[in-house]
């Protein structure tokens, strides 16, 4: 019981630190980092690595406060050399902290970020300098992602587009498949499990579960070295097929009752 009260308090503390840290980093550290170079690519590398280190520290803080525990499997798969068409990492999205977790494992990664952050006074410059990709409609977004992948970069996408609804069948949008097919890239799936449910779509952040949550993050073997349509298959149908494949794969691995 005492432990549960501590965890409820600790989560609030951790969120407050995230907010304060965001302001401090956005106003102090980031502008200093900005002044170290005029080269856009160098700036991107430095900004992304800086965000990565902050998130590493932040995850360590959560674990240090005893708010959750975690185990990681096959991190070496993230470090394997990336091919010329890039690597798309897809992941399921059970909790609010998944993206922080994944970025803490990837020193440099391109992410799709809410477009509203480009108008957020605290976060605008970090997302610009890290050259994260704003989630705009359709073709523009796919095109932006393909450019990154074809530069041999790693892109992280949550095919569900938002956090999962616990206890319900998984639902996915087709964007991840569209990007993979347009780039013809490698697809590496990540399985994120959290027991019990924590920071999920139906919980308030301060709702501490009865026992300490445990995350298991597994980098699985690539689904394909090169996403492509079947011979003669139109793009729209290939995207539907690939999305069904993602959905079936995650549904089976997570032991969810299918739709």
């Amino acid at each position: 019981m005492l432990n549960r009260i501590w965890r409820a308090f600790g989560v609030s503390l951790a969120f407050a630190l995230f907010g304060l840290g965001g302001i401090a980093l956005g106003f102090v550290a980031m502008p200093l980092l900005r002044m170290t170079t005029f080269d856009a690519k160098t700036l991107r590398r430095r900004t992304q690595r800086f965000v990565h280190q902050c998130f590493r520290g932040y995850i360590a803080l959560w674990q240090g406060l005893g708010l959750f525990s975690a185990e990681l499997h096959h991190l070496e798969r993230l470090r394997a050399p990336v091919g010329p068409r890039g690597r798309l990492i897809i992941a399921n999205h059970p909790s609010l902290i998944d993206v922080v977790f994944l970025v803490s494992l990837l020193p440099e990664v391109d992410c799709i970020v809410k477009r509203s952050l480009w108008r957020n006074p605290f976060l605008r410059w970090p997302v610009v300098w890290a050259r994260y990709i704003p989630n705009q409609a359709g073709e523009t977004l796919v095109q932006a992602c393909v450019e990154r992948l074809h530069a041999g970069r790693i892109l992280l996408v949550f095919p569900e587009g938002t956090r999962s609804r616990p206890g319900e069948p998984l639902l996915m949008q087709r964007g991840a498949a569209q990007i993979a097919l347009a780039a013809g890239c490698e697809i590496v799936p990540v399985l994120v499990r959290c027991e019990p449910e924590f920071l999920s779509k139906r919980q308030w952040p301060w709702q501490a579960p009865p026992v300490k949550p445990h995350f298991t993050i597994a980098i699985e073997a690539a689904l394909t070295p090169r996403a492509e349509p079947l011979p003669g298959e139109p793009n729209a149908l290939a995207a539907r097929r690939l999305t069904r494949e993602f959905l079936a794969w995650y549904t089976q691995k997570l032991g969810i009752t299918p739709l």
Partner: protein, 88 residues
């Protein structure tokens, strides 16, 4: 001149070919996103196909306010039946 019925029939065939949509679902009042599961990338594919079939350049702009199958039929009817440009 093409009648709206002819345009609808053609559009239905295209939707079935491109997106494997159940024929019964394709009604004039069916909404693309909600009822037919056609997303913004699919719309680009659909426009390319319509350009090819009609031989007219349809701009994404003209489809901005399209929500239902019926909206596309009306837009296409207007486009196909507009008076031919006078030759210079």
């Amino acid at each position: 001149m093409r009648t709206e019925q002819e345009i609808f029939d053609k559009l239905r065939d295209i939707l079935i070919d491109l997106f494997e949509i159940e024929p019964a679902k394709i009604q004039l009042e069916a909404r693309f996103f909600e009822d037919l599961d056609i997303d913004s990338i699919d719309v680009i594919d659909l426009l390319l196909k319509l350009n090819e079939v009609t031989g007219k350049k349809i701009q994404a702009e003209q489809f901005k306010h399209v929500r239902t199958v019926g909206d596309v039929v009306s837009a296409l009817a207007a486009l196909l039946n507009e008076p031919r440009e006078r030759s210079a």
